[in-house]
């Protein structure tokens, strides 16, 4: 179907337009990462990816319940209208206030959320075909707010950036943010051993459980090591004499430099982990036993009740026409 474009882009000198286009082009790719590096930092990730004991409600839930919450959230946001995902994002964001050292974690996770919104929004807005926008918004009229240089199409850009495309990208964001925050809450409030025990109870394959357990232990080490490598490169003069506003870019470059040494360092550790596990009979019997019993508390029953409520809500939204649209916007 033919698209009617309504041009509303600002009237600027061609050179300025070109400069802005290139700025957006570069910002679209690196901007969200730069935001994370500037405000969260690599060490910040350490604080939002490792378990620390606490007393809040989430620490009382069994890992299995939390895993079911993550999966249910993923299902719910993929089936329903975008604002339901936004509400769930808000719910999970507010649950960070119940964690140990909440202030710092809420701050970091807020930056992570902001960069995710920017990253996903721009990631979708620049590339989504007009036909999809027509279907999603049930209109043939699209409001053009920016015209890209024609050669940007080689990078997969649509010729025009439309208001609808931005709106579409923003809506899509919440399909990612809600499960992301739920997943982080699971990692922050669950010990690897607990996760192992509960997953084994529901017959999850042992090698997968072990991989997950080791990953939960390794992820904070990755950030810790990468942080050291990045700082070492900065200390060696990377970004020396450059203005301070460019610092996050140099952290990004140092991070890229540091990927290989970090991986080699971690691989060496992984070899010892594998030997340590195998020399202690890991995966030797199909029926692994557990010293501690798997227990469900009142909090788990309440959480399961809430999961049922979530699915009932999803069913109601679908019934009242608030399911996902084509392909992702509900109308």
């Amino acid at each position: 179907m033919k698209v009617n474009f309504v041009f509303q882009q600002p009237n600027l000198p061609p050179l300025v337009e070109l400069a802005i286009s290139w700025f957006i082009f570069l910002f679209g790719a690196t901007g969200p990462i730069v935001i994370i590096l500037a405000f969260v930092g690599i060490r910040g990730f350490l604080h939002i990816t490792r378990f620390e004991s606490g007393e809040g409600i989430l620490y009382k839930l069994s890992p299995l319940t939390k895993l079911i919450i993550v999966i249910s959230t993923t299902v719910a946001v993929s089936l329903t209208i975008w604002w339901f995902g936004a509400i769930l994002t808000l719910v999970f964001w507010s649950l960070f206030f119940t964690l140990n050292e909440a202030k710092r974690k809420v701050l970091y996770v807020s930056y992570l959320l902001l960069s995710s919104i920017l990253g996903v929004s721009t990631g979708f807005a620049f590339y989504t075909p007009y036909s999809v926008l027509q279907m999603a918004f049930n209109t043939n009229t699209l409001n053009v707010i920016w015209v890209w240089p024609s050669y940007f199409s080689f990078a997969g850009y649509e010729p025009y950036l439309t208001l609808q495309a931005l709106y579409y990208g923003f809506q899509i964001t919440f399909r990612f943010t809600a499960p992301m925050l739920a997943g982080l809450l699971l990692i922050l409030t669950t010990t690897p051993s607990d996760l192992m025990r509960y997953l084994a109870k529901v017959k999850f394959p042992l090698p997968f459980i072990f991989a997950l357990t080791v990953a939960m232990r390794t992820v904070p080490r990755i950030f810790d090591t990468l942080d050291t490598v990045v700082k070492l490169q900065l200390m060696r003069g990377l970004g020396y004499g450059k203005p301070s506003f460019l610092r996050p870019f140099y952290v990004l470059i140092a991070g890229l430099y540091g990927l290989v040494p970090t991986l080699i360092f971690l691989m060496k550790g992984a070899k010892y982990t594998a030997i340590a596990a195998d020399t202690r009979a890991f995966n030797s019997t199909p029926r692994r036993t557990y010293m501690k019993e798997v227990k469900y508390t009142k909090a788990d029953y309440v959480a399961w009740g809430l999961i049922v409520v979530l699915f009932v809500t999803v069913a109601l939204l679908l019934a009242f026409g608030y399911g996902r649209g084509i392909p992702y916007v509900g109308y």
């Binding site: 051993s193 070492l232 900065l234 060696r236 990377l238 970090t262 202690r280």
Partner: protein, 525 residues
């Protein structure tokens, strides 16, 4: 029945034409304790991996001959079965631990065996008791000291109730107190289990082993009863194994066995002349002085001052957690934002406390224990040029040439640093950080996990650098290294400097702070 029987063993790693280990015959009695020594890369770990089944079950290669452990042919016995017969404790405790709580880690093996929960509990409490860490059962493994963590690993292996226990450099990454605690557990186990201990610390392990085996260039070069060790002293020294000086001196005095007191008497009576390590007495004022406070939340981690003179080699010592690394990282600007750093860092009159990391990097640099982390390029010459280019140094090519020459790296200039030997990699790392013009080098535990030969080589390299005017601060647990090479020792305890001076003076009091004086010093004291 022998605990370990080896006949005609030879193993070559994939892609290697030469065997890494060749053993015609080796028998270890049940209940016997054996110390395996040798230089890094001599084949010690390959040998023990052939005994615990890691070779051939986890590491492939060309394996010939037969290894039998407690009647089980290693090649034909699955790892799950072998793990109940042979327990293995490796070097780095952190990478061996996978669980969150200590008791969960200890229960890991018995749970893998599918034992009933009651038996798992019984084994856990038994293993915790033997390892002397019952009080740590509910502690988080992430918050343990190196010694505590290694004893947790030891307990988790003991919970499998193995008849044979292999300890592959179990104390190389922990401080002297942690080392003592691990060795205390081994002393408890002597005679109760067959133990094969791979260690560089000969003097420390000798009291609780029956036999010493030297591996050199992939072969057994020496196999002696402990009482006969004096006969093999020269061979051990030649093979690059750390042997306490009084062993060598006992041999010179023709004593039947190593005798510390007799040697000391001999020195006093002038029968033996000992060279005292040379130390610099530098009268110039310090080029760098730092007075630093580091706090985390409401806890003070470090409140210490340190100064360094031009051309001085300072050893920074103390227990794990004393604040040594935190102090150096704080000076270098490497601490995370969860730590608050205040105070003053003055380098040649310039205050640097508010300066960013890349500015401080002009004057001093921090080299971590895993120095490979600094190597980010694919050619040695690029690595050395890295800082020079980033700092915009004109004529950097000449500087690179000079450093390639000075560090003996010319022939490796086009090679990937990661593919070089450990000693060469260390030289690349040092050359690359010094080439940029820094004057002070902070090295964090460069001696950990190193054999005697490597430590001595490192010491000589550092001495050469200080002779050229560089100042070096080395964090180390190695008292012998510090005694041999340092001009000055600074001891930290609970975040504070508690001793500072010449090694001869500091070692008189350092034991109070977990730093044991080396026997070389005690001989002269």
């Amino acid at each position: 029945m022998y605990a370990v029987e080896i006949k005609g063993l030879s193993f070559s790693y994939l892609g290697s034409s030469k065997p890494s280990i060749t053993v015609d015959e080796l028998y270890i009695e049940e209940g016997e304790s054996v110390l395996v020594v040798g230089k890094s890369g001599s084949g010690k770990s390959t040998l023990v991996n052939c005994i615990n089944g890691v070779i051939p079950h986890m590491i492939s290669g060309e394996l010939r001959g037969e290894v039998v452990v407690m009647g089980n042919k290693v090649k034909e016995t699955p790892m799950s079965k072998l793990s109940t017969v042979v327990g293995t404790v490796l070097q780095d405790p952190e990478s061996q631990v996978v669980n969150y709580l200590v008791e969960e880690e200890v229960a890991f093996g018995p749970e893998n065996l599918g034992l009933p929960p009651e038996e798992v509990k019984e084994r856990v409490s038994e293993a915790l008791r033997i390892a002397g860490i019952e009080h740590l059962a509910k502690r988080e493994t992430t918050n343990l000291s190196g010694g505590e963590l290694q004893r947790t690993v030891l307990a988790s292996v003991l919970a499998m109730r193995p008849k044979v226990l292999i300890l592959d450099e179990p104390t190389s990454n922990i401080d002297p107190e942690g080392t003592n605690s691990v060795f205390a557990t081994l002393r408890e186990l002597k005679g109760k289990k067959t133990m094969i201990v791979v260690e560089h610390k000969v003097e420390r392990v000798l009291p609780f082993v029956d036999r010493v085996i030297l591996i050199d260039k992939g072969r057994i070069a020496l196999d002696l009863r402990k009482e006969e060790i004096i006969e093999g002293v020269e061979t051990l020294v030649e093979a690059g194994v750390e042997v306490p000086s009084y062993f060598v001196l006992s041999r010179k005095l023709k004593l039947p066995r190593p005798d510390f007191e007799a040697v000391k008497k001999g020195i006093k009576e002038g029968k033996i002349a000992l060279e005292t390590p040379k130390r610099k007495e530098i009268a110039d004022p310090p080029i760098m002085s730092a007075s630093i406070k580091v706090t985390a939340k409401d806890r003070e981690l470090v409140d210490a001052s340190i100064e360094v003179k031009r051309g001085e080699l300072v050893a920074l010592m103390g227990r794990n957690g004393a604040g040594k690394t935190t102090l150096l990282k704080a000076i270098a600007g490497l601490t995370g934002d969860e730590l608050k750093v205040t105070g003053s860092i003055v380098f040649e009159g310039e205050e640097l406390i508010r300066r960013p990391i890349w500015y401080r990097g002009k004057y001093f640099i921090y080299l971590p224990q895993s120095f490979d982390l600094i190597l980010v390029t694919t050619k040695v010459e690029d690595e050395i040029a890295f800082s020079l280019k980033k700092r915009g140094v004109k004529g950097f090519k000449q500087v690179v040439e000079r450093y390639l020459r000075e560090f003996g790296l010319e022939e490796y200039r086009k090679q990937d640093p990661m593919l070089l030997s450990m000693g060469q990699r260390r030289r690349v790392a040092m050359a690359s950080v010094l080439a940029s013009g820094v004057k002070v080098l902070f090295m964090d535990e460069p001696t950990s996990g190193q054999d005697f030969y490597n430590r001595m080589t490192l010491g000589k390299e550092l001495r050469e650098l200080t002779d050229k005017g560089y100042s070096i601060v080395v964090v180390t647990h190695d008292s012998r290294f510090a005694y041999e090479f340092a001009d000055r020792i600074v001891v930290m305890s609970e975040g504070k400097v508690v001793a500072n001076g010449k090694p001869e003076d500091v070692f008189k009091v350092s034991h109070k702070y977990g730093v044991e004086p080396p026997s070389d010093f005690l001989l002269r004291w």
